[in-house]
């Protein structure tokens, strides 16, 4: 019986299947990692945003002003370094201000923001 190995076509076909399997597995793995990282970052960012909201909703209306950084702790954002935080205030109508808190990281490519509306109630601000 004549002994012969695989033909070139068989070999190429096998390699093609192998490459497809490896590439797909790698792509899935990398995408999963990317999404996990994204989720971790967003969870940290939104905790910090919510904490700043807790403070901003208690600041007297006249003192609600734009700021270059948050007043509350940003220790949670350490894994996102370098990052920046800012507070933007827009007077949408008399006695109404929209306060937007923003966190940027990855050189500004990623950002998370949370906005609240403050209304001048005239008297002492509510708890």
């Amino acid at each position: 019986m004549r002994q012969r190995g695989f033909s070139l076509v068989e070999l190429l076909f096998a390699l093609l299947i192998l490459t497809l399997v490896i590439t797909t597995t790698l792509a899935v793995f990398i995408e999963r990692n990317r999404r996990l990282q994204q989720a971790s970052e967003l969870i940290l960012a939104y905790q910090v945003l919510a904490n700043e909201v807790e403070l901003q909703r208690r600041v007297p209306f006249a003192d609600v002003l734009p700021m270059g950084s948050f007043t509350t702790s940003t220790d949670l954002l350490r894994p996102l370094q370098p990052y920046s935080t800012s507070i933007d205030v827009t007077a949408t109508s008399p006695g109404v201000k929209t306060v937007t808190m923003m966190i940027k990281w990855r050189n500004g490519k990623k950002q998370a923001k949370l906005a609240i509306m403050r209304v001048d109630t005239g008297g002492g601000n509510l708890w």
Partner: protein, 172 residues
């Protein structure tokens, strides 16, 4: 008798096999390093743990519905519980009035919520918390408002994983 010539692999076959194997190893190595790097960089994501979410949600409600200008008692349960970074004692509004609630984080992997209603204690326990979940309770001061609660939790590597400010809301 036919004698079959036995021969090993050729150098080319060996080289190709080793190259494929090496590529696999390299990919595995790079991916493992990347995963390790991420593990070291980010804290454990406790916010995906159902028990942690349950504890946080329930505690948030207790703090947001806190009663009075100083809702934090020094102790409760006839001195069994004392206000500390591992124990939060708070007067909170419930459907039938005001209750004193104790949040006890002293037992590893468990969180106990004991509510006192006319001297009768009712306990809710969250079991099976992550083993490396280390919670801490602190006070947050906002001038002109009752003190708030700052709840933090670190993971096994000492990384800050949860940091939440809970501030009592105004009530009539």
């Amino acid at each position: 008798m036919v004698r079959r010539r036995s021969r090993g692999f050729t150098l080319l076959e060996l080289v190709v096999t080793l190259a494929i194997f090496g590529t696999f190893l390299m990919i595995l190595g790079v991916l493992s390093l990347e995963m390790r790097r991420q593990e070291r960089r980010y804290p454990v994501n406790f916010m995906q743990h159902p028990q942690v979410i349950a504890v946080l949600s329930r505690m948030r409600r207790d703090v947001l519905d806190a009663f009075g200008s100083n809702p934090y008692r020094d102790n409760a349960g006839n001195g069994k519980y004392t206000q500390s970074p591992k124990t939060l004692i708070i007067d909170t509004i419930v459907s039938n009035g005001v209750q004193t609630v104790v949040w006890d984080f002293n037992t590893p992997r468990e969180v106990h919520r004991i509510s006192y209603n006319v001297g009768v204690a009712t306990e809710w326990v969250a079991r099976g918390l992550p083993p490396d979940f280390a919670a801490n309770i602190d006070a947050v001061e906002t001038p002109g408002h009752p003190f708030g609660v700052r709840f933090t939790a670190k993971d096994g590597n000492g990384k800050l994983a949860i940091d939440q400010y809970l501030q009592p809301r105004a009530h009539d």
